[in-house]
């Protein structure tokens, strides 16, 4: 879940705050879990909602500093690739784009659902995702090209 938080806000302190608030909600509302789906999915949804609440609170479109995050995160379980690089790429997106990208491309929500969650229009959601994808594709391709040349 910490990874989920970092995808939405690639800053360790903010992500930990969201994780903390999210898990407090989980423990306080555990009685309302109906055992109709997976508990992980339920917790994930609460964490995402908490991240969205945080996003609504700040509503500031500014770059997030990842330098602090790298100091706090401990023992990544996936050592086969550098998670820092991935989060650095995501952190280059403006907040709104990053949220829409995460909700659409990773969580699998539709644009109409995202428009309701973020209180934006459906076309804005599509536009945000399109721009986020363009930015990310560009960066990822550049990195891939760089790695290919470095390999040669």
């Amino acid at each position: 879940m910490f990874g989920v938080c970092l995808r939405y806000f690639p800053n360790a302190e903010i992500a930990q705050d969201i994780l903390q608030d999210g898990f407090i909600k989980v423990f306080e509302n555990i009685h309302s879990f109906r055992f109709e789906g997976s508990i992980e999915g339920w917790i994930r949804r609460i964490i995402i909602n908490t991240a969205l609440e945080y996003h609504r609170r700040i509503r500031e479109d500014k770059e997030v500093d990842l330098s602090d995050a790298s100091l706090v995160i401990e023992e990544p379980s996936n050592s086969d690739f550098d998670y820092r690089q991935l989060l650095l790429i995501v952190s280059s997106l403006p907040n709104q784009y990053r949220i829409v990208f995460n909700l659409y491309a990773i969580e699998g929500y539709s644009h109409s659902e995202i428009s309701e969650m973020l209180e934006i229009s459906e076309s804005t959601s599509k536009s945000n995702y399109s721009r986020a994808r363009a930015i990310l594709r560009d960066k990822v391709n550049k990195i891939a090209d760089f790695e290919r040349y470095a390999f040669l």
């Binding site: 910490f2 990874g3 970092l6 995808r7 360790a12 992500a15 930990q16 994780l19 903390q20 898990f23 407090i24 423990f27 306080e28 706090v72 995160i73 401990e74 023992e75 990544p76 379980s77 996936n78 690739f81 998670y83 991935l86 989060l87 790429i89 995501v90 491309a105 990773i106 994808r133 990310l136 594709r137 990822v140 391709n141 990195i143 891939a144």
Partner: protein, 433 residues
């Protein structure tokens, strides 16, 4: 046929979705402590609500009980005196006085009195109001104009400094006793108790103040005890019905404690500044601004560098922390009255600001003063008390009131589990007007 092959972007999304990271252990500690805090706060709120509910039930229970007692008196009337429209003679009809002597007194006081044998409830009677003055027992006072549908009731009242046996009127149809009207010397007049609706009361309060928890850290504060202090109230009370009153005013509310187990260190050389040591109490941290002396709890002293202790004179000291709040209370009370004696049950709340925060360190080295740190500048309290009113002049009342006050918020921002409370024996003089 060409199939779509995932590129670097799709690979990136796949890797991003599968990031697994462990948060700092601090997060879980924070979650745990937060949940514990919430749980204790929930329990506290539940307790407060229970106390509030119990208090209101008690208040209304007492009120109802009081009402019931008075109502029983009305319903238990014994026929004694009365007067029929169609008869010129005064005849016995009703009384609330049950003693035979009293009955005989009335019977023998006038030859014209005869027992009433008619069906009182079945007939539509117009009854007169009479009064009988103790100073003039030989005759009944003359009758006055009949009051329709009333039943005269003999009641002993204090009126203008004299004991008066007066017939009070009650509504025949509703049994609603109107005690505020007494007939005397041809006039229907009122007793002072219920018409004087305002009362100004000044209290002086010897108070024992302490807090609900023992010391936050028992190792640091093994010897904290409550403190005796003085407070005072000036209250104005308004009677809003026969049984209920509401009062407000100004209260000087003391809170404090004494810690006998602190040490005072004085620098051997007066020119040498002491290392700053502080005593940790349940009401907050105290430290002296004087640069050649310092105070400490024993345990923190043990943690201090040995050079500090070696170069100092160590003497035991007594620390008294005193806080005074100026508060505005709102108190609702219900009263039980029997003859001249009145008991009032009071519940209320108060809110106020801190006007004095001082601690005093007393040792053989001298007295030192300062302020406890990080103390809240306002407070709110729940108040409960029982007041015994004893009239000793027409308008003056002596009030003795054991009371208890519990703060609803901690006094220190640092120690959220320390809730001050105080018990006081208020002694006051009230003036009714």
């Amino acid at each position: 046929m060409h199939f779509y092959e995932p590129g670097a972007y799709e690979d990136f999304i796949g890797k991003l979705a599968s990031i697994r990271l462990k948060p700092s252990p601090k997060v879980w500690i924070a979650i745990s402590s937060h949940l514990q805090c919430k749980e204790s706060a929930r329990k506290r709120i539940l307790l407060q609500r229970l106390v509030a509910a119990a208090s209101f039930i008690l208040l209304f229970g007492i009120s109802y009980f009081t009402f019931l007692i008075f109502n029983i008196n009305i319903n238990n009337e014994i026929p004694l005196w009365g007067h029929h429209d169609n008869s010129s003679n005064i005849i016995p009809l009703y009384s609330v006085l049950t003693t035979q002597d009293d009955f005989n007194l009335k019977r023998t006081s006038n030859e014209a009195i005869k027992p009433f044998t008619g069906d009182m409830y079945g007939s539509s009677v117009n009854l007169n109001i009479f009064s009988l003055d103790n100073n003039d027992n030989d005759h009944l006072l003359t009758t006055i104009k009949p009051i329709v549908s009333t039943i005269p009731i003999v009641k002993e009242e204090i009126f203008q400094g004299r004991t008066l046996h007066a017939y009070l009127q009650t509504d025949y149809t509703t049994n609603n006793l109107t005690l505020d009207h007494v007939y005397h010397n041809g006039n229907i007049t009122t007793t002072d108790d219920y018409t004087k609706k305002w009362e100004l009361i000044a209290y002086i309060n010897p108070t024992y103040a302490y807090h609900t928890t023992a010391a936050l850290n028992q190792k640091l504060n093994p010897n904290e005890i409550g403190a005796w202090m003085w407070g005072g109230d000036i209250m104005i009370k308004r009677r809003i019905s026969r049984y209920f009153s509401i009062s407000s005013g100004l209260q000087l509310s003391p809170i404090g404690q004494v810690n006998k187990n602190v040490v005072l260190l004085r620098s051997d050389s007066y020119n040498k500044d002491m290392m700053v040591l502080s005593a940790n109490t349940s009401y907050g941290v105290v430290s002296l601004e004087n640069r050649v002396v310092a105070i400490s709890n024993f345990s923190t002293l043990a943690c201090a560098p040995p050079s500090v202790i070696k170069s100092s004179t160590v003497t035991p000291a007594r620390l008294s922390q005193h806080f005074y709040f100026l508060e505005i209370p709102i108190i609702v009370s219900t009263s039980l009255k029997k003859k001249y004696f009145e008991a009032e049950f009071k519940l209320g709340c108060s809110s106020g600001i801190l006007i004095s925060n001082q601690f005093e360190v007393i040792s053989t080295e001298g007295k030192f003063y300062g302020k406890t740190e990080n103390v809240r500048l306002y407070n709110t309290n729940a108040i409960g008390s029982v007041c015994f009113n004893i009239p000793f002049k027409n308008e003056l009342v002596l009030a003795i009131e054991p009371s208890m006050k519990l703060s609803l918020n901690p006094i220190s921002y640092s120690y959220i589990s320390t809730y001050p409370f105080s018990t006081a024996l208020k002694i006051g003089i009230g003036y009714k007007f």
